[in-house]
């Protein structure tokens, strides 16, 4: 008995040293990937780029912190993982994707279809589903990753933070994308593009103002429309994208600039707690969809001569805002109905919830039906605060409207 116990104990203790250290990896044996890019070249091979942090450069201690804190490794392969394997050939440390926060998809690859590169993201246990996937507009992902960004040590993180700053739910798009695609819906992905940091023509020009000179930075550029076959079919510019996301219900806050009827000047409203409610109705085989948008706003700027300490004026401003939001949202919805015939708003899901029986018959040609759906948008914004001043102080008294 005693002998058996001691033998058992010896076996147990030797287990400690017989693990072969299992999957142990010291931090200084890992290459931490923070940004990842996938492109597709002419001959259909995949080109993967990894933006890897250089810890010694990012060190806050003395002796570190000179030069760039990151570098980019690029390799090509027959598939995403094959390319990754070839990246490993260039890396002295084990490629570790557990902290990959941003994935950039080159425009070419996105047009050819994303489905082939996404499998590895979901199969690898190290990888988080809470990664942001961006479509790179106008450049390859590799070019984008190689470009430094002055504020962030790791430029890829700049894309993530911009996405958050404009009201998107950061750290989320891979999860959202998979949820939509798995159901066979169309969806959108955020767009990131290289643009001149110092030029004013960023959005309008085709190349994002890259020829305007000055250092290039990353810019959040709206959203990309992905069809149910995971192919990129078009882009929404920034304003359209914000409205589309609001309708879908995944927007946190929204900046709205609107003219007030019969007034000279603009009201700027900062809307938070943006909500969206989709109410579908099926009547006589026709689909009616009502979208109710709501939110609470603070007036940040008022260039009209209205005195906002007067309740009537605030009401007028509120109405103007409502109208503007309704028009903008309607515009995006119509654009998708007419130009693409793709439901990126989750209307189908709303019908599925409300009419589960009818949905079974509808879902196969839903995108066609979506194009013919009658959509009405009702916005109901509440202006909570008007800032510190009622009337614009910069105007003389005589010009201010009571």
């Amino acid at each position: 008995m005693k002998r058996r116990r001691s033998i058992g104990l010896i076996v147990l203790i030797s287990l400690l040293f017989a693990t072969g250290c299992w999957d142990r990896a010291e931090l200084d044996d890992l290459a931490l990937i923070l940004g990842w890019g996938v492109d597709q070249s002419e001959d259909k091979t995949y080109v993967a780029s990894a933006q890897i942090a250089i810890p010694s450069k990012l060190s806050t201690q003395s002796g570190g912190g000179s030069g760039q804190g990151f570098f980019v490794l690029t390799a090509s392969g027959k598939s995403s993982l094959d390319a990754t394997k070839n990246i490993q050939r260039k890396s002295s440390r084990k490629i570790y994707a557990g902290h990959r926060r941003v994935v950039c998809i080159g425009e070419t690859l996105a047009k050819n279809g994303l489905s082939d590169v996404l499998d590895e993201f979901t199969r690898n246990p190290d990888v988080r589903l809470r990664t942001d996937i961006f479509v790179v507009k106008g450049n390859s992902a590799q070019e984008l990753l190689q470009n430094p960004y002055p504020l962030e040590n790791i430029p890829a993180l700049a894309a993530l933070r911009e996405h958050r700053a404009v009201g998107g739910i950061g750290d989320s798009t891979l999860r959202d994308y998979l949820m939509d695609e798995a159901k066979g819906h169309s969806t959108t992905l955020p767009v990131i593009q290289l643009s001149s940091l110092a030029s004013s023509q960023g959005d309008e020009s085709q190349d994002g103002g890259q020829n305007a000179g000055g250092p290039l930075g990353l810019e959040f550029g709206g959203r990309a429309i992905i069809d149910p076959h995971s192919k990129l079919v078009g882009f929404l510019d920034y304003d359209e994208a914000q409205n589309a996301v609001w309708v879908k219900g995944t927007l946190r806050h929204f900046m709205l600039t609107t003219r007030v009827p019969k007034e000279d000047g603009n009201i700027n409203l900062d809307v938070s707690r943006t909500r969206s409610k989709v109410i579908p109705t099926l009547q006589h085989g026709k689909v009616y969809i009502e979208v109710r948008l709501s939110g609470f706003g603070i007036i940040r700027e008022n260039t009209t001569p209205m005195d906002l300490s007067q309740v009537e004026n605030v009401d007028r401003a509120q109405e103007a805002c409502d109208t503007t939001v309704e028009q903008a949202a309607k515009h995006v919805i119509v654009k998708l109905q007419k130009d693409y015939g793709l439901d990126i708003f989750g209307f189908g899901e709303a019908i599925h919830r409300k009419y589960p029986q009818q949905w079974k018959a509808m879902k196969n040609d839903w995108d066609k039906q979506f194009s013919n759906a009658v959509v009405t948008v009702n916005a109901n914004l509440t202006i909570r605060r008007v800032g510190l001043t009622g009337p614009p102080l910069q105007l003389p008294r005589s010009e201010i409207q009571e």
């Binding site: 287990l15 400690l16 040293f17 693990t19 250290c21 299992w22 999957d23 142990r24 990896a25 010291e26 931090l27 200084d28 890992l30 931490l32 923070l34 942090a53 810890p55 010694s56 990012l58 060190s59 806050t60 201690q61 570190g64 570790y96 557990g98 902290h99 926060r101 190290d126 988080r128 040590n153 993180l157």
Partner: protein, 524 residues
């Protein structure tokens, strides 16, 4: 089965028989010279035993025997010698000298008569004076203790900001008196025993009848009576013999130098064991939670104390698991750390030659070594060690790139946390257990840490102290007593003594004493 007569005791008995060889007679005789010879034979080569013979008026010789230094010589002079030598004593008829001396002595000291040589010898060794008179076959044993003792001072190990500042001393009677000063009730009992064949150490079991659990008390008595040992030098000797399990890092007997802690424990139905020659008093049964309670908890405000208790819960977990978690997460699960933190840890580890486990083990051992070195150093050298330690452990190791800076932070946090456990002996348990858990973390990652934590928990649940489950009142759960574990509820809201520990009357105070409720004591 083993015989109940261990060889050690036989040997001691034989030794006594040979050393007291001249002690042919077991009883004293009426002949003083004969008695003196017997005693001198017994105390052969004991230079500290004084034989003083003197002739009293009435021409009867008498002999005083005592151990020099244990007896109060001035009282002896005043009481016995002066009156006798100044012929103030009445003439004594033959044989009644003893009675007169006895009357003289009784006014000042406890006096017993002894007929047997062994009793006389024991009396002398227990700091009494033996008085033998010519022509009398029994001796007087007068208690005139007067050995040097340390004064009552504040205990060094258990310091409070608020609360009594007296601590136990090495003298048993002083200690029991400190207890009696606090609980003036005849229900506070103190049973005397003596343990140790050669040391004959006095041991006192103190308890309050009607509050103590009789079965536990009986168990304590039998366990102490079972001890057969040559000498008891400290209460830990007793502790080792009476504890339930030896092979565990967790102490099952609490010790303290503070009389107020002993009193509070007695009032909860526990039992205190005093041992002569040490200021440390044992308290049984001990539970895990008493190890996390300091005396001052009951003297400070309840809100603050409750907060501090939660701090301790957090800190003892930190003391046990922080290095292991750091090792497990950085080497097995880097995805659990926020990206920025990971990058700074990676930057700090850049160029460090050792694996994280080895690093942690080295630093932990270094820290323990420093602590050990600092404990017993002479005061003059102590500061030097702490300077060297701070420089070696802290700066130099990091600057030399041998140890990463986060590891230093982790180890020092762990060190601080382990000293935040109020009972030193429970803290020791944690400091020991840290190492196996660290090895598990290095081999199996978080899985290993989980296994380690489960093993420790299972062990704790299994432990008992004198039949009382170690984790009571949490496991098994006694909801009414949780008030004193998860928080420190005000006294008036905890009317019951701990169940499973206290026996008899569980009610310790009257209900409805919440001062908030008007009880007619508010000014109108």
């Amino acid at each position: 089965m083993k015989s109940r007569k261990p060889r050690l005791l036989k040997a001691i008995k034989e030794l006594e028989n040979t050393t007291t060889a001249p002690c042919s007679s077991e009883f004293l005789v009426a002949d003083l010279a004969g008695n003196e010879q017997v005693l001198r034979g017994a105390f052969e080569s004991c230079s500290d035993v004084v034989f003083r013979s003197l002739t009293v008026a009435g021409a009867s010789r008498m002999l005083l025997v005592f151990v020099d230094g244990l007896v109060d010589a001035s009282t002896l002079d005043k009481v016995l010698l002066k009156p006798m030598l100044s012929h103030e004593m009445p003439d004594v008829a033959d044989g009644s000298a003893v009675r007169i001396i006895e009357e003289q002595l009784v006014a000042f000291a406890k006096v017993e008569t002894a007929h047997r040589v062994k009793d006389v010898i024991d009396g002398i060794l227990k700091a009494n004076v033996a008085v033998l008179v010519e022509g009398d076959s029994h001796a007087l044993i007068a208690e005139l203790k007067g050995f040097e003792k340390r004064g009552v001072e504040e205990p060094a190990a258990e310091i409070t900001v608020r609360g009594p500042r007296d601590g136990f001393t090495e003298t048993l009677r002083v200690n029991t008196a400190l207890l009696r000063r606090r609980i003036r009730s005849p229900r506070l009992k103190m049973e005397s025993l003596s343990v140790g064949e050669l040391s004959q150490t006095d041991v006192v079991i103190a308890y309050i009848t009607g509050v103590v659990q009789e079965t536990v008390l009986e168990e304590v008595r039998t366990r102490i009576n079972r001890i057969e040992i040559d000498g008891v030098l400290e209460s830990s000797y007793i502790e080792e013999f009476i504890q339930d399990r030896a092979l565990t890092p967790f102490p099952q007997v609490q010790n303290t130098e503070r009389p107020d802690v002993v009193c509070a424990s007695l009032l909860e139905g526990r039992i205190a064991i005093f041992v002569d020659t040490t200021p440390f008093v044992l308290i049984v049964p001990m539970t895990f939670w008493t190890g996390l309670q300091a005396a001052e908890d009951y003297y400070e405000r309840t809100l603050y104390t409750s907060f501090i208790r939660w701090m301790r819960f957090i800190l003892f977990n930190v003391a046990l698991f922080l290095p292991s978690l750091y090792v497990a997460i950085t080497t097995y699960h880097p995805q659990l750390i926020p990206t920025n933190l990971l990058i700074s840890i990676a930057a700090a580890r850049e160029g460090v030659p050792f694996p994280t486990v080895i690093e942690a083990l080295m630093m932990e051992l270094m820290f323990e070594g420093l602590r050990e070195a600092g404990v017993r150093l002479p005061k003059a050298v102590g500061s030097a060690v702490s300077i060297v330690g701070a420089l070696v452990i802290g700066q130099a190791a990091v600057e030399a790139g041998i140890i990463s800076a986060p590891m230093v932070i982790v180890v020092s946090t762990t060190g601080i946390a382990s000293f935040a456990i109020p009972r030193y002996n429970l803290g020791i348990a944690y400091r020991i257990l840290r190492f196996p858990v660290l090895l598990l973390a290095g081999s199996f990652g978080l899985f290993g840490v989980g296994i380690g934590a489960l093993a420790i928990l299972a062990h704790l649940v299994n432990l008992r102290s004198f039949g009382v489950p170690y984790l009571v009142p949490v496991a098994p759960q006694v909801p009414s007593n949780l008030k004193d574990v998860l928080a420190r509820a005000p006294l008036w809201s905890t009317p019951h003594r701990p169940r499973l520990i206290a026996g008899g009357d569980k009610q310790r105070l009257a209900h409805g004493q919440n001062p908030k409720k008007s009880r007619g004591n508010q000014p109108t």
